[in-house]
C-alpha cells in the first residue's frame, strides 16, 4: 500500500512537469486540485432538491402503505409496497447517510443477523414484507408500521442537514449500480415479495438522475463519454422494460430466466465502467 502511494506521488510529479513542458499533444493537462466543488454548486443544489422531493413522496407513499397495514388490508398493502420503496431506492446515496435510520427502514433479516443481532431487532419495510407475503397477514405488524412511519418522517426531516458534495454524487451513482449488481441481480433484496425489479429500476433512475445533472459539464469535457452513458442507460432501460407487467409495474423476479438475469447483469456492468468515469466532472 505504501509503495503504491509513493508511485502515485511520482506520477503526479511527472504529470505536473509534462504540463509545464508543452509536450502534451496527446495528454490532457491534469489539474492538481481534485475537488473544485465551487464550480458544481448548481448541480449539487439540484441534486439535494431531487432527493428532498423523492423523500417527500416517500413519506406520502409510506403513509398510504402504513394505513393499509393498520387497516388489515393485505392485498392493498402488497400493491403499495414496491412502488413506495422506489422513492427510497432512488435517493439511497442520501438516505444511507444516516447510519441508524437506513437499517431501521430497509434492513433485511440477513443484514440483522450479519450484525450479530437477534430477530427482535428487525424492523421496517422488509419485516412487513415478511408478514404480507409469507404469513399473509398484517396482524401483529401494527407497531412495526407505526415505527416505520416515524423513521421515514425522521429521515425526511434529517435530509435537510445533509451536505451534498460532488464526491457524494459521483460515488453515489456508482454505489447505486453496485447495489444492483450485488443484491438486486441475485434476487436477494426482496426475498419474500420478489419485487426486486422495482428496486432495480429505482436504483438505475437514481444513478441516471446524477448523470443528467452532470451532463452539461461532462459534455464539455468528454462528449464521447456522454454518448456512451446515454446509450448504456438506454440499453439497460430497454432490457428492464421487457419485464414490465403492463400495469405500470414489473413482473416477479422469480419469472426471470438465468439468461434474463445474465443479460441484465452484463448491461449493468457495461454501464458501470463509463459511469465511474463521471469523476472527471471535478477536473
Amino acid at each position: 500500500m505504501k509503495k503504491m502511494m509513493q508511485v502515485t506521488g511520482v506520477l503526479l510529479l511527472t504529470s505536473g512537469l509534462l504540463v509545464g513542458c508543452g509536450t502534451t499533444a496527446t495528454e490532457k493537462p491534469i489539474k492538481k486540485e481534485v475537488s473544485q466543488a465551487s464550480t458544481l454548486d448548481t448541480e449539487v443544489a439540484a441534486y439535494k432538491a431531487f432527493a428532498i422531493d423523492q423523500l417527500d413522496q416517500f413519506v406520502i407513499a409510506t403513509e398510504a402503505f402504513v394505513e393499509a397495514v393498520k387497516a388489515g388490508e393485505v392485498e392493498k398493502a402488497k400493491e403499495l409496497y414496491a412502488p413506495a420503496r422506489m422513492y427510497f431506492e432512488r435517493s439511497e446515496p442520501i438516505a444511507e447517510s444516516f447510519g441508524d435510520l437506513d437499517p431501521r427502514i430497509d434492513a433485511r433479516l440477513a443484514d440483522i443477523k450479519e450484525e450479530g443481532q437477534g430477530e427482535e431487532e428487525w424492523s421496517g419495510y422488509h419485516k412487513i414484507e415478511y408478514g404480507l407475503w409469507v404469513e399473509g397477514k398484517t396482524e401483529g405488524y401494527e407497531e412495526v408500521a407505526d415505527q416505520l412511519m416515524k423513521d421515514v418522517k425522521e429521515l425526511r426531516a434529517k435530509v435537510e442537514t445533509v451536505t451534498v458534495t460532488p464526491d457524494l454524487m459521483i460515488v453515489g451513482a456508482v454505489d447505486l449500480l453496485n447495489e444492483v449488481s450485488t443484491s438486486k441481480i441475485t434476487g436477494e433484496e426482496e426475498i419474500y415479495s420478489h419485487t426486486d425489479l422495482y428496486d432495480f429500476k429505482a436504483n438505475v433512475e437514481g444513478a441516471e438522475e446524477i448523470f443528467k445533472l452532470f451532463k452539461a459539464n461532462l459534455q464539455e469535457k468528454d462528449a464521447a463519454l456522454v454518448t456512451t452513458l446515454e446509450e448504456s442507460f438506454a440499453s439497460l432501460n430497454d432490457l428492464l422494460a421487457k419485464h414490465e407487467d403492463g400495469k405500470g409495474g414489473y413482473v416477479s423476479y422469480e419469472v426471470l430466466t438465468k439468461e434474463d438475469t445474465k443479460a441484465l447483469s452484463e448491461a449493468v456492468d457495461h454501464l458501470g465502467e463509463p459511469l465511474s468515469q463521471m469523476a472527471i466532472v471535478v477536473e
Binding site: V7, V10, L11, L13, E266, H270, E273, V282, E283
Partner: protein
Amino acid sequence: MSEQEEKSVFQKKISRRKLLKLTGIGTVGAIIGASGMTGVLSAFGMNPFEDDDETVENKIKFYGKHQSGIATKGPEHVYFVSLTCVAKSKKELKELFQLWTKQSAELMNGRLIEQAKSNTLLPPVDTGEAVGLNASHLTLTFGVGPSLFENKALGLQSMKPTELKDLPHFPKDQLDAHYVGGDICIQACADDPQVAFHAIRNLVRSGRGKVTMHWSQAGFNSYEMKHKEKRTPRNLFAFKDGTGNVNVESSKDMKEVVWVQPSESKNWMIDGTYLAVRRIQMHLETWDRTALSGQEETFGRHRDSGAPLGKMDEFEDMELDRKESGGRVVPDTSHVFLALQVKDRMLRRSFSYSDGINPNTGAFDAGLLFLSFQKHPKQFINIQNSLGRNDKLNEYITHRGSALFACFPGVTKGSYLGAELFD
C-alpha cells in the same frame, strides 16, 4: 541507482518493477537529469504507440510477422477467454482492436495498460494486480470465431473463409453449451498466473460495452528441467504431452503445418492460423484405479520415460508396426496409434486445468484445455475423427467444450490487430 537501472532509464524504458523502485522525488530528479523529458514521457507509458521494449526482463515481442503465443515455447500458465461481440458496427469493433493493440504492447512490456491519473475520484485505469511483477513472458493471441461473421451488423460476411465454421460433432462428444464457441478469443500465456489473468481482466474491462464474456478457462503446465531446458510437460494422467509435436523453431514445419500461406485462405488470414479449442474433462478417479500396463496401452507410451512402448527413450521412432509374439507392441486402439493413422499434423499447445469439484459426482473437475494451431481446421478434424470411437483414452475423458477461431497474422508497428480483416 545501479548501472543497469540507469541504462534502462536512459533508453526510455521502465518495467513495472522498476517503476516501483523509482520512488521519491530525488529519484525522479535523477531520471530527468539523466535522460531528459522524452525519457520520462515514454517511461510512464505516455507514448500512444508503444514499441516492444527489448531491455525488459522475460519479454516476448508483441510486433512481428505472426502473433505471439503460438510459436512461443514452453508456456506455463494460460488464461483463455471466449467473448461475445456486442459492438454494433465494424467501426466500433475496429476501435476496440486498436485499443487492444496498444494495451497488449504495454502489457507484454510488463507495464500498466495506462498511467495513473491524479484524480483519485476516478477508478484506476489499470486494475493493478500485476504491479511489481515483470513481463513474465506474457503472450497475447487474438482470434475470431465463425459466429462473428454471421453478425450482419458488422458486415463481415464476405470476409469469412469457407473453412471457418463450427467444428463437427465428434464421437463421444458431450458438449456443454457453457463451453462452446465464441465470437472473439484471447489467449494469455505467462510464467505467472496473475500476470496472465491481469492481462485478460484489463482487456475485457476496456472492452465493456463491446464484448461480454462467454466462457473462460485457466490452465497450467509444469516442466521438468534438464540442462536448463524445459522437457515435455506431463498432463494430469502423468503422461508426457507433446513429444511428437511440430518443431516451432523450424520455419519449414511451421509454414507447412501452422501458418496460412498466400492463396490458401482469405488474404487477411495470410501468416495467421486456426486455433482449435477443446475443454476435455479427465476422469481422474477411474484413471487412478487403472493398472499401469493398462494406462501405458491407452497412450501407447511408457509413462515415466515417455518412450514408445517397448523402447527406452522419449524421442525414439514409434515404429507402429512392431510386433511381439504375434501381437502389436503398440495397440491399434492406443491414442498415439490412432493419431498417427492420418498424415495431418498440428501444433499442440495444451494446458491442464483443475476447477474444483463436480457437484453431481463429488469427483475432481479437472482435465485438459486442448489448444492446437493449424493452417486449416481439417488437420485437427481429421486427427480427431481418426481417434473416433476406438481411442482407448475415450474411456477416461469426455469432451465438454469446443470452439474454433481464426487467429490474425502478427501486427506491424503502426498497424493494429486484425487490420487486414477490418480495413
